[in-house]
């Protein structure tokens, strides 16, 4: 039985044994494979983080003709305020006009917690359908309905015949998983179950041998999409970007592609396996097109599936030469500088390779979680015998502050909303991820190099901050082992 036959997808913990807790070195991870870490390790002190609802809404909010109903307390949906900025800019870049997200909340109250929230949810669906007539209505469940036992799937199935909007249930009960990448599975799950069959009566043409699905779960803005489209077109391919900003009504066209192309296994493996099993579409998923070598590997992988080996070598040679010449004047500033990286696992590792290509030395790396997909990547970085600190953490900036105080890197690259620790310590800091800027492909290398160059040339903003702003940790904390709050379950606290 396929995962997609069930109402809810599995968590990443159960499907991939993913974990979020480790403190050690790259060699420690590279040798041992995924069981090295980490089983049962937990933190006896933790800081808040995000849950799967956030990245899930990142995809859902971008869909045109779609309203989003969050079934939960009134606060759960307000993350949409930040995503609304991305959707506005993304809509303007793709369709020439900014668009606000249309979202609703059932705003569950105390009485609903006691009596159950199904009644309120049903009323909300009916009212929204009547008053707003969205073509698609995504119904997102959160912690409260998960605990009090609202059966959203049965409810949606029962009332579907009376609702004009096509309803898409998505499960985001935050307490069920610590791996927020489960969000991608949750959204893909509903797409796989509801949107891949062509509507009745629509003439379906056969598979298109030049068409590839380029998967984007919102981590790439339009500039990044354009760069990858440019490269794939140079191979003579047509590109279907999926699923962000894609019309849900046309998503079934993804089943006509000759190949699905991922830029990150953390994002897409769940869905791409489904597309292969159900529709026979092969996929390439092994590399992330960040950095010169990785972009070439990514392109070669795609080409190998489609018999484009000669073409791809021509593209790679031309692009690499062009890029290298452009990078030349920027590189002297980078030589021997020590960099610290923090991001999602695949992105952090790919950027490690990229920074080495630019002449940096890697002094430490933090990744949000760890699973089997990254094993080869750790080995890539450990291959030359160099060792550095690796910390797996769902943010946890207290560990980061301690590490940065010890390692004193020359430059820091971190995720959106997670750069302020390094910046307030005076370290030149560049975002490793921010929708709307260039990160991937050859253009990504060049633009990132320029951002690093700018930041290193004048880090005054951060330096002045550091002279005047304190982080909120005790001095004693910096003297303790940064991983002293990591322990195996059942062990007493030190």
């Amino acid at each position: 039985m396929s995962y997609f036959d069930r109402a809810t997808p599995p968590t990443r913990e159960s499907r991939l044994a993913s974990c979020i807790t480790y403190g050690g070195t790259i060699c420690g991870l590279a040798g041992k494979g995924r069981r090295s870490c980490l089983e049962n390790a937990e933190r006896s002190f933790s800081q808040g983080s995000i849950c799967l609802l956030l990245p899930a809404l990142g995809i859902i909010n971008s869909l045109p003709d779609t309203a989003v109903l969050i079934h939960g307390a009134v606060g759960c949906g307000t993350v949409t305020h930040s995503q609304n900025c991305i959707v506005r800019m993304g809509s303007a870049a793709r369709h020439g006009k900014a668009r606000d997200v249309l979202w609703f909340t059932t705003a569950l109250q105390e009485l609903d917690v006691v009596n159950g929230g199904e009644r309120r949810l049903e009323d909300a669906i009916r009212e929204i359908d009547r008053e707003h007539s969205p073509k698609f209505l995504v119904v997102v469940t959160t912690c409260i309905p998960g605990i009090i036992g609202d059966d959203v799937d049965t409810l949606v199935e029962r009332i579907a015949p009376e609702i004009k909007a096509r309803m898409l249930p998505v499960h985001c009960e935050g307490f069920k998983t610590s791996i927020w990448a489960t969000a991608y599975d949750a959204v893909y799950h509903t797409i796989g179950r509801n949107l891949l069959e062509p509507p009745e009566g629509e003439l379906t043409s056969g598979p298109n041998p030049r068409l590839v699905n380029l998967m984007n779960v919102s981590s790439m803005g339009r500039p990044d999409e354009l760069e990858l489209e440019r490269l794939l077109r140079a191979l003579g391919l047509e590109v279907n970007i999926f699923p962000v900003f894609a019309d849900p009504g046309g998503m079934h066209r993804a089943t006509r592609a000759a190949l699905s192309v991922s830029t990150c296994p953390t994002h897409d493996d769940y869905f791409l396996k489904h597309l292969r099993e159900r529709y026979g579409i092969p996929f390439s998923i092994r590399h992330m097109p960040i950095g010169i070598a990785n972009t070439a590997l990514w392109l070669r992988d795609i080409a190998s599936y489609l018999g484009l080996k000669d073409e791809v070598e021509r593209v790679i040679a031309r692009e690499t030469a062009h890029l290298q010449a452009a990078l030349e004047p920027l590189l002297p500033l980078f030589q021997g500088k020590r960099a610290f990286i923090a991001a999602g696992e695949m992105r952090a590792l790919a950027n490690g390779t990229l920074l080495r290509e630019l002449g940096f030395e890697i002094t430490g790396m933090r990744t949000f979680h760890h699973d089997e997909f990254a094993e080869g990547e750790y080995e890539k970085l450990a291959a030359d015998g160099s060792d550095f600190v690796v910390n797996i953490a769902d943010c946890q900036p207290f560990e980061e502050a301690n590490l940065l105080r010890r390692l004193k890197p020359d430059v820091f690259m971190g995720h959106v909303n997670a750069n302020s620790t390094a910046a307030r310590m005076g370290i030149p800091t560049v975002a490793i991820y921010q929708v709307g800027m260039h990160f991937v492909g050859y253009r990504g290398v060049y633009e990132l190099a320029r951002r690093l160059h700018r930041q290193i040339r004048n880090p005054s903003f951060n330096q002045r901050l550091a002279e005047h702003v304190r982080l909120c940790y005790r001095e004693e904390w910096y003297r303790r082992d940064p991983f002293s709050h990591i322990q195996r379950r059942g062990e007493d606290q030190l």
Binding site: A73, D100, G174
Partner: protein
């Protein structure tokens, strides 16, 4: 009540309490909930709080128990104990505030008993029930204040006749909160009063703990913090004044008189301040006169805001700028039976006809409640009493509406995605000037 809210302009109780607790000096909040609550607040701020993310303890730095399925089944109190014990080791703080989220409350964790045991052991630690299902961010702010007044403010034997506490400006929900609180403090200090505002850089935990010495509590809101003021009176005996949020010279003059009257201060002190500040206000405003007239900067206005801003903005543009606020939307969920109270607490000089004040939480519904004749028509070859020239003062979610009315727009109320606010304030005399700058700036941006 409707079964949903469409794009509410507030978050949950935990979010409101957390933004306020993180704004207190030397204070470390501990969130007893799932991991995502803290991140949700950080991203809510990133998109809605005029580019201010996190407080001193910042954003994703806030300690949390990060509950999982195991705790949902077996209870989260062991995890909470462990977290509190280790928070003291890692985080630099003197007051610790445990805030509950939906999950710890739904599973029935007895947080009070755990917090009490640490308190008995000598720790400065308090807790507030702020599960998201208990209400919105304003409710969370109110719950936090109640906890502070009940469990942190010490009883005082004597009152200090010139000391006042001031609250009602909600950190984060009012994106100008830092500037606004500082401006209120300056205003009252200019009347030779001592002021506690709790959340600014000039406040401290010591002055908060001694707040019961105040002769008067001033709540600058018809709604937020009034319940906490009642609790304060009950416990510490200090009476309170509910005063409208003052923007510009007319409202601020009235505000200062209200405070003076409540404190039995003679009019001389007040009039001296009002004369000086009004003189300054008009000295700065006066050179705008020619452009104001020549460019015809009088506007019909559509005001959309929370209970503080909606009335304050409407009164300012009507009483001081001579604009016509044809419709005013209050976007808080105010129960019907409380609406009259709130309306009674506004200060405008001009009694507004009832129909111009509307309570509406849903963003699209605001458009549907406007007179359809206000929207421009292409075939305009007719005499028409249209809603033009117009200006919408609202949030960044009202840009599409303003565009369809062909009106100017300024984001003032949450969410404010398209402005950066640091120490800006719209309160008082200087605040009125800032607001004029920003309104006119938006109108002439294409010049």
């Amino acid at each position: 009540m409707s079964s949903y809210i469409e794009r509410p302009r507030f978050s949950c109780a935990l979010c409101g309490a957390l933004m306020a607790a993180a704004a207190l000096p030397d204070t470390i909040p501990i969130v007893h909930s799932v991991a995502g609550c803290v991140g949700n607040v950080a991203w809510t701020q990133q998109g809605g709080a005029a580019l201010q993310v996190g407080g001193p303890c910042g954003c994703l730095g806030i300690p949390g128990t990060n509950l999982r399925e195991r705790e949902v089944v077996f209870g989260g109190l062991d995890r909470l104990r462990e977290q509190i014990a280790n928070t003291v080791v890692v985080m630099e703080g003197r007051l610790f505030i445990v805030l509950t989220g939906c999950v710890s409350e739904v599973i029935g964790d007895d947080v009070d008993s755990v917090v009490r045991s640490y308190k008995w052991a000598g720790m400065d630690i308090i807790t507030a029930r702020t599960g998201g299902f208990r209400g919105n961010s304003y409710r969370g702010y109110e719950e936090l204040l109640k906890t502070l007044f009940r469990d942190y403010v010490r009883t005082a034997k004597r009152k200090s006749s010139r000391l006042v506490n001031l609250w009602g400006v909600v950190p984060g929900m009012d994106v100008f909160w830092r500037g606004n609180l500082e401006a209120m403090r300056r205003l009252l200090e200019s009347m030779r009063l001592e002021v506690n505002t709790f959340f600014t850089g000039e406040d401290s935990l010591e002055t908060l703990a001694c707040a019961a010495k105040a002769a008067l509590n001033v709540v600058v809101s018809p709604l937020y913090g009034v319940e906490a003021a009642e609790i304060f009176t009950e416990i510490h005996g200090t009476t309170y004044l509910v005063a409208p949020f003052p923007i510009g010279p007319t409202a601020t003059g009235r505000f200062l008189h209200m405070v003076a009257e409540a404190l039995h201060i003679g009019n001389e002190d007040v009039d001296r301040v009002i004369d000086r500040e009004s003189e300054r206000y008009y000295r700065y405003l006066s050179p705008l006169t020619d452009p104001w007239i020549d460019l015809d900067l009088q506007r019909y206005a559509l005001i959309i805001g929370d209970a503080n801003y909606a009335f304050a903005l409407a009164d300012f543009v009507a009483d001081d700028l001579g604009w016509l606020p044809e419709q005013v939307f209050v976007t808080d969920p105010v129960p019907e039976d409380q609406r009259e109270d709130i309306l009674g607490r506004r200060a405008g000089l001009r009694p507004e006809p009832e129909h111009r004040l509307v309570f509406e939480t849903d963003t699209s519904a605001i458009r549907h409640r406007l007179d359809p004749r206000w929207f421009p028509v292409e075939d305009g070859n007719d005499y028409r009493e249209s809603f033009s020239p117009a200006f919408v003062i609202g949030s960044s979610m009202d840009r599409e509406l303003a565009e369809s009315l062909r009106a100017g727009h300024l984001s003032v109320g949450f969410p404010v995605a398209n402005r950066a606010v640091l120490d800006r304030s719209y309160v008082g005399y200087s605040g009125g000037l800032r607001l004029v700058e920003d309104l006119v700036g938006a109108m002439v941006a294409a010049r």
